[in-house]
Symmetry: C3
Subunit: 351 residues, 3 copies
């Protein structure tokens, strides 16, 4: 498997299949795995708080018999303050066997991988990528459908912002006979680059505004939060939000096999009366996320520690103000070409 997990596309279907089988076996026989990481150390570097992801990785490592070091927000650590990302990563990879990094700068995980002596897992780099959330989502769907194919997948809420949704869309497009129903207010439709991606992959999808009108056709309903900040006015926001809150009432015509998912934490986009519905899987989804991370950690640790790859300086500088290369000046410019266009290898923005 890939040395580092920066982007979900780093994982092939075959590799996902192996991770999934390992995950399923861990869930069946946890005792068999409770000592496999004894003596191993995970560095959990959270430059911004994300309790769920942080706890999910911690618990995963603990259940494998390993240990965890790191920090859970910059304030709590003099490492995170002042010091360059490079120096922190080099030091941490001196201590740990595996690094998990969450950082608000886009491309931070890729940058970290340039200097780490051990594998790096991206636990979220700004609005850019969050591959292990996608891993948890696919695991949940497969666990409850017996195979990711021939599904009507509804995704509801804010489809414009939120890497979770975009990453899930890209990942699901790789599976056979997936039909997307994008349910959102006009203000929050999927962005052009996703539409471009879907069209160039001949992916079937429709965009609608009504959740109620759509729910009965769905096999999967993935709910996301609509944030106040996204609207020009409070009234705009109030006008929309109720239409995109899932209640047990709106589920009356839904299939009995529907999977109701949510990345959590929820605010009020799913009302508590749905929690007791057997189709509500969002809490189980978090549990699957922890088990698939156990499988991921085991698999990544098989990659023997190796000096980071040589990087050739060169190419154009990135122009994205949120790109890690804007903040960490010693970073080499890294670019790649696709269809004659040039992109930054850190943040994937076109240059």
């Amino acid at each position: 498997m890939t040395r580092n997990l920066i982007d979900f596309v780093d994982i092939t279907h075959k590799e996902f299949d192996e991770l999934y089988r390992l995950c399923a076996d861990i869930m069946k026989k946890p005792d068999k795995y409770k000592n496999v990481c004894v003596g191993k150390v995970l560095a959990n570097l959270f430059y911004e708080p994300s309790t769920r992801t942080n706890l999910s990785f911690r618990t995963a490592m603990y259940k494998l018999g390993g240990s965890v070091i790191g920090f859970s927000d910059p304030g709590s650590s003099s490492v995170a303050k002042g010091e360059s990302l490079k120096d922190t990563i080099v030091m941490m990879s001196n201590y740990a066997d595996l690094i998990v990094i969450r950082n608000p700068m886009e491309g931070a995980a890729r940058a970290a991988s340039l200097y780490s002596r051990v594998p790096v897992i991206n636990a979220g780099d700004g609005g850019h990528l969050h591959p292990t959330q996608t891993l948890a989502d696919l695991t949940t769907i497969r666990m409850h459908t017996g195979g990711i194919k021939n599904l009507n997948v509804g995704i509801c809420g804010d489809l414009m912002n939120g890497r979770t949704v975009h990453s899930l869309i890209k990942a699901l497009s790789g599976f056979p006979d997936i039909r997307f129903y994008f349910i959102s207010p006009r203000e929050l439709k999927i962005p052009d680059y996703i539409r471009y991606f879907l069209d160039s992959n001949k992916q079937k999808y429709i965009e609608i505004t009504s959740l109620e009108a759509t729910v009965s056709s769905l096999d999967v309903l993935y709910m996301t939060r609509i944030q106040r900040e996204r609207f020009d006015s409070e009234s705009e926001y109030e006008r929309h939000r109720h239409a995109y809150i899932l209640t047990s009432g709106k589920l009356s015509d839904a299939k009995s096999s529907l999977l109701i998912m949510h990345p959590l934490p929820r605010v009020d986009e799913i009302s508590v009366d749905v929690d007791n519905d057997p189709r509500a899987l969002y809490f189980a989804q978090a549990r699957y996320g922890m088990y698939i991370r156990m499988a991921l950690i085991m698999t990544m640790l098989k990659n023997a520690p190796a000096e980071p790859r040589e990087t050739e300086v060169g190419g154009a500088a990135c122009v994205n103000p949120r790109c890690v290369s804007m903040f960490e000046k010693y970073l080499p410019n890294l670019t790649y070409e696709r269809e004659g266009r040039v992109f930054c290898e850190y943040c994937d923005k076109e240059i």
Copy 2:
């Protein structure tokens, strides 16, 4: 044993006896137990800081070979902020095998137990209950008396406030031939509901104001802190405090078998010159507290994870402004009747 430990009354004398024997064996042969919780995870959820209780549970779990996740104060966790208690508990019980919760809302531990898939231990819910402190206190007394019976128990300081003292009084009343000496300024005497409890249990007790006049008759002296805030004026406070500070001088007539106890941390209510007195047990008390928690964790983990019990909505709403049901609106009203009066099942206040 009870699935959850919310209130010390959940533990029968027989169960305390079993916990005590296990505790004593752990102290004798710690190596025998150092791997019994390998692969198990304790969620230590501290919504307000309490370093001692927090460390005591952590260390207990570590000495059993288990792991610990959680947070030590709300500020440090996005889970504790914003999210409902229910969602946090459901998520945590996805990850952990046992939950320990400390929360300023009265009844929070009971509320948590409604949604947890794993056993819940109350590590303090506001001014309401703190059963594992009582467990530590009884363990200390038994460890040094060979049996909790026929004892003159002095409790000194602020007897009006402080759940530690009230819980200890209730618990000790269940043992044979206990005689209480309540030593406090008039302003800080035991509250009426405790007096009512003692009288209806025909429990022997006397209330006095002088520590010096009483100490010679005692088998146990339980010291507590008198807080400035409790008095109308600084002068009021100054007038009293010295009378309730234990010094080696005041111990001159005390029994050689006296047990001097304190829940810690102390400020100056016990002067340092007492620390070297062999009768000073307050530091040992903390150590016993850790060992009895080891026994408790082992015992609770035998309760296989089970879906939480069904709760029937209904009954009257609680009126206690500090009750968890005031803050977490989705909670069902839960009540119980005693002697024709109705009480809230969360905070035990009469409705």
Copy 3:
């Protein structure tokens, strides 16, 4: 070995030799040691943040199969706030098998050792001592020279302040044929007490201001940071700093066997272009520091828990305003004599 490690002089050359051999074996066969501390608990008490030292000890304990409790800065702990150092130490030594303490008060580690039931390791007490950093430094030198003798050791930067440097100078003076090159601006030369120490030990050393003129003669170059605060004016600072920044350019005439060291974290006193130089050992130095701490922990844990030694009150009170005895009033006065002069046993200042 000594029960506590307060000062590097507590370790004899023979003991350092044993620690070093154990460290080398751990690096060769880590799996052999991954369970030696199962069931053991390290209390990591950091009264001021020091992520590197903190993580180094944590990781060391984890790699030995042990657990860690404690706090990483006073704010995060009610123990560190309000409570006396004595009470915190007594409580912690109730829970843990070994205490590591970092505290801004000079002599705090010595004071802690008076009340701890378990061994105490000094991880830095204000500007006073930091023996495990010196341990890491010597380990690095020996690892790359095959024996600490006949070396030209350059120490560059702020030589007036900084216990790391002073402790290293004292320690190296104990080895054969060491010649020091003290490279610093006049404002930041070694203090008189170090000069007195060197002269009375007939230790060879020269003081110069130019790094470039010296580097070619060196076997070891130990870089330290020059802090803005140390100079009267910004211009003074700017005038100096560049002369004491190590660049690959300045290394052109250096020996191919030169060891470039730094205690970390660095700011800009070593430019990043030096990082890829095979002679740059400062990151490796941190790794060796973690392994030698593993050896130290194993060795200290062999010291069976024992009640702290009796201390005889008496002697004169210390006058150093940063001495722990100024803040913790219950501490006995402890002094020792040397050459007819009297020193405080906590902070080693003359009385």
